[in-house]
Amino acid sequence: MAVMTYREALNLALREELTRDPNVFVIGEEVGLYEGAYKVTQGLLKEFGPKRIVDTPIAESGFTGVGIGAAMVGLRPVVEMMTFNFALLALDQIVNSAAKLNYMSGGQYNVPLVIRGPGGPAHQLAAQHSQSMEVYFYHVPGLKVVRPSTPMDAKGLLKSAIRDDNPVIFIESETLYNIKGEVSEDPDFLIPLGQAVVRREGTDVTVVAYMGMMYRAMEPQRSWPRTASPSRSSIRAPFSLSTPRRSSPPSGRRTARWSSRPAPASRAWARRSPPRSPRRRSTTSTRLSCASPARRRRCPTPATSSA
């Protein structure tokens, strides 16, 4: 174990997988000479050379297509989106090619591809650079979607994503890159995709959260109503629908939190708590932009509210 930042954990995962498998390469805008717009690929060009760390022009659709084609014949590309907002320019490649090729070829062509980069609310980057794209990709059959919350998750999940035989949308967070945590230095350490984890056991309420909202949820004095105190809450992340669905919270109360617009389906999920719960109409929280104290005061609703 070593303490490192989320950014360093991602960098370590890339280094380990580049070392382990010669079919792995990194491709994207500014990943080499510039060492990454967010420095996730720092030092990789020097260590692995321009064949493995490929700088591209600004052409998201083009270089995502290159990654898909290379993956179809057995390479394992890691395509970096400078931010996931730019993936919109490659949406046809991702949705119509990467996600569907295994299906449409009857299993003859699989696409072991990772598309990674930061997404979600950032530091005042305005409307076009602050979108939580995972909700789009989650609705596309054939894509796996990962959003790691901690440095340990970042490393273990990125390594699993690279080794996965399917296209994986791996969305990091600009606001978490500097967060520190314990990370396994074992090159064989993996976290399987698609599993939620219980961060804290409790009895009153189940909170489902991921990314920055996981940390907000763990700060009860700031954001929780008095009756659902932190010591009696379950916090689950990273996001996986199956685990919270299967496990009914002892209290029958649950709430979901993420940094995006509340989707109709998620509201319905939050409302499906048993009627005996006095707080069955839990509302999803969407207010990560209210994080700074000055902004929070102006924020019309608390970070978590109950009807």
């Binding site: 659709s61 084609g69 009857g106 035989d165």
Partner: protein, 199 residues
Amino acid sequence: MGFAIKYRGGDQVIVCYFGDGAVPEGEFHEALNLAALWKLPVIWLCENNRYAMGTSLERALAQTEIWKFGETYGIPAEPVDGMDVLAVRAAVGRAVERARRDKTPALLEVRTYRFRGHSMRDPAGAVYRTKEEVEREKLRDPILLFRDRALKAGVLSEDDVKKIEKDVNDLVDEAVAFADASAEPPASELFTDIFKESA
């Protein structure tokens, strides 16, 4: 795939087919630029049949000489008579050889024609072009032209031609009969192969 060939140091060459309708798409230009920039072994083969569904080349492109986009990206490019089987064969052969020798992509504009409509909603294909034009182009059907040429050169006899035509018709009939006789896929196929299950 061209990138993967170069990555592994192989000598394969990709031939990528597309129509004139793909040329105004941004992807065409991104792909040509990347292939030229990285010297990938890809032959871009544009089958230019002059209409993207019902929109003629002149209504879609400021530069209708599609092969000239190759010059823009600094790669070998040429127009080819797509109705001449041997001319297409020779041009693709040259491009493949050059891709292996000089490590360069190429753009071929293969000029051809669509005799039928685009789809069932366009049975005659005659709203956006004249019948005279279609009939005139049919005289340049590459199969007929090649047949006449082979007969004239004595490479094929009339009997050979009849046999080839019968064999091809039989093959198509067999394939249609096989498809008609096959069971409909079960509903479970909808959910098969969405993901590759790892071993």
